[in-house]
């Protein structure tokens, strides 16, 4: 069931009504039921995967908790009898036992993700290697489909078990509540990747109907549909025309495709997240923000702190930090520091961790070399800008332009162009084609090609371009207004007439200008495929 479908709109409309009509203590149970019904639409057999993740995590989290309690009781009982060294040895022994359970849970669940997501990629690469060495045989591909949202719910659930292992919070004792945390339907399709301590604060609470939550949530949902249907799904037509025919659309067209895809992805992903957060808000549930106007970032590192925030913080907390402060990495640090001195020695372990994280981030987005190249390109840009830090400091001390509008505009444009060009790896069929198309922007660039009606042959009419233009202006306007606080709050403080005029206008815009047509079927969200 796609977010942008009549079926889904009917589904959430019924849910909203029933949710506030039933006794409050059953609300979370209704959400669990709704989440599983939503999941059933993706295919009944996929339920098994999410149930397995829930049950295995539940059992192991209780196991870890039991060991934690045993440890606490033992240490309390023998508080006076044990020396500090004894206590430490006992804690280490117990930590080791807990770690074994944690590793089992991670292996099981990431193992499933690896099999369903990466088997055919691995087989394709093995076949290519066999062929390169003159082998005749070919491994056949597995007939295996990716269960909906598996990358998202696996990461969310593994974050939970790691937190329980670290003692951040006790495990959830009610398996059905844990099942709701794992499967909460608005965020199942494309995140955000929530943390248990954040989401559980409002997920299991009893909620009375609140006009403010309802109206703010509905506004957010409408804004999300506007981005998805009016902008993303419209621009998608032109993007597909360009990227599917790289022999024809090169040079200036590759540049147009690159920029259009950047707008499409932004509108598609942030639109989907707006719908998710909006639905949750109507239900009285707080879901973490996943974006903070990323294209206004002054650097790529900052961009990644503001784009898909929950994935970035997941990788930081559960991969980057653990690798960076692991015992082997500390040995590497010691070795490099002694060998090359403090300045270089300090960098090497950080860069090893950074490369690892970006490799994993790339492959998380998709089982292809395109995404690995995309991850590595991000990594290279971040490391280069890190290395250029002294130059930036020197530059800013010499030329006092840092706070000028012109320089900030330059930084923002640099971020947009850099990120858009790296995103080209998402678009084209393989890495060499991506490089070729990127190169064509410099070798065969002729802006005159774009005039004389060529842009109208990409599948969009002049009216479409006008709608897109106005839509993007609206997007930019709202983003700029958000710098001074919540737009919805300002709207709420305005007169009722203004507020309802804006609602009606939005609704009509989506109805009229949403990218529908004869036999129209909204496209899937891009991040749903990750």
């Amino acid at each position: 069931m796609l977010f942008a479908s009549y079926g889904f709109i009917a589904f959430i409309a019924i849910l909203f009504i029933v949710y506030y009509l039933i006794p409050k203590k059953y609300q979370w149970m209704l959400l669990l039921l709704a989440s599983y019904v939503f999941y059933l639409f993706a295919g009944p057999k996929y339920i098994l995967y999410i149930v397995f993740t829930t049950v295995s995590t539940y059992i192991i989290s209780l196991r870890i908790d039991k060991l934690n309690q045993t440890q606490a009781q033992y240490l309390a009982k023998y508080k006076e009898d044990l020396s500090r060294a004894d206590k430490r040895a006992y804690r280490d022994m117990m930590k080791g036992r807990m770690r074994r359970w944690l590793v089992a849970c991670l292996l099981l669940n990431f193992g499933i993700l690896a099999v369903v997501k990466y088997s055919n990629f691995a087989i394709a690469n093995l076949n290519a290697i066999f062929q390169a060495f003159g082998g005749q045989g070919q491994l056949s591909f597995l007939d295996i489909a990716l269960p909906m949202g598996i990358s998202f719910y696996t990461f969310q659930t593994m974050g939970y078990i790691i937190d329980v292992y670290r003692g951040k919070y006790p495990p959830e004792k009610n398996i059905f509540k844990l099942a709701l945390f794992v499967s909460f339907f608005p965020q199942l399709v494309q995140g955000p990747i929530s943390r248990f301590d954040d989401l559980s604060r409002t997920l299991f609470k009893e909620h009375s109907f609140e006009h403010r939550n309802f109206s703010f949530g509905m506004q957010r949902i409408m804004w999300g549909y506007f981005k998805k249907l009016v902008i993303a799904d419209r621009i998608l037509v032109a993007v597909n025309t360009i990227i599917r025919d790289p022999e024809v659309y090169q040079g200036a067209f590759a540049l147009v495709g690159m920029l259009f895809y950047a707008f499409q992805l932004y509108a598609d992903f942030t639109g989907g997240i707006d719908i998710t957060i909006g639905i949750a808000q109507v239900l009285g549930i707080e879901v973490k923000e996943n974006f903070n106007r990323p294209y206004f970032s002054k650097s790529i590192a900052e961009y990644w702190r503001r784009w898909h925030i929950t994935l970035g913080t997941w990788f930081r907390d559960y991969l980057f930090y653990p690798i960076s402060v692991s015992k082997p990495m500390m040995k590497v640090f010691k070795f490099t520091r002694e060998r090359f001195g403090g300045a270089i020695g300090r960098r090497i372990p950080v860069y090893i961790s950074t490369i690892t994280v970006w490799f994993v981030t790339g492959i998380w987005h998709g089982a292809s070399w395109n995404f690995i190249a995309w991850g590595m390109a991000n990594c290279v840009v971040i490391i280069i800008s890190q290395e250029l830090e002294p130059f930036y400091t020197w530059f800013h001390s010499k030329f006092k332009v840092g706070n000028t509008f012109g320089f900030r505009l330059f930084q923002v444009l640099r971020t947009v162009l850099l990120m858009s060009s790296i995103r080209m790896f998402d678009c084209y069929r393989d890495v060499p084609t991506t490089f070729r198309m990127f190169g064509s922007m410099f070798t065969v660039f002729n802006y005159r090609e774009l005039f004389g009606g060529a842009l109208l042959e990409l599948g969009l009419s002049m009216a479409d371009y006008w709608v897109l233009f106005m839509g993007l202006i609206a997007l930019l306007g709202v983003s700029l207004a958000q710098r001074k606080g919540s737009v919805r709050l300002k709207l709420a403080q305005g007169s009722d007439l203004l507020r309802y005029a804006v609602y009606s206008f939005m609704f009509i815009i989506i109805l009229i200008f949403g990218a529908y047509g004869v036999g129209y079927d909204s496209s899937q969200f891009i991040y749903n495929q990750f």
Partner: protein
């Protein structure tokens, strides 16, 4: 405390670490700095900071970092 301040000042000579208590919240220290810092703390103080202690509250000021080191060395 002086050793810790020396490490920090070497990383960012332009920051007043004695007074600043929003090192993370103001994005003065990023994750690269934190890792480098943890490695230096391990070398200087022999204290291992586990990943679950890497939270803003523990790194927002030199004082918070020093308290963390003292707590972990107990």
């Amino acid at each position: 405390m002086e050793e810790l301040l020396e490490i920090l000042e070497e990383m960012h000579p332009d920051v007043d670490f004695r007074t600043c208590d929003t090192l993370i919240d103001s994005n003065i220290l990023d994750s690269f700095d934190i890792i480098a810092l943890i490695s230096e703390i391990k070398m200087e103080f022999g204290v291992t900071i586990p990943p679950d202690e890497i939270i803003p509250e523990n790194f927002n000021s030199a004082k918070a970092m020093y308290e963390l080191i003292e707590r972990l060395s107990d």
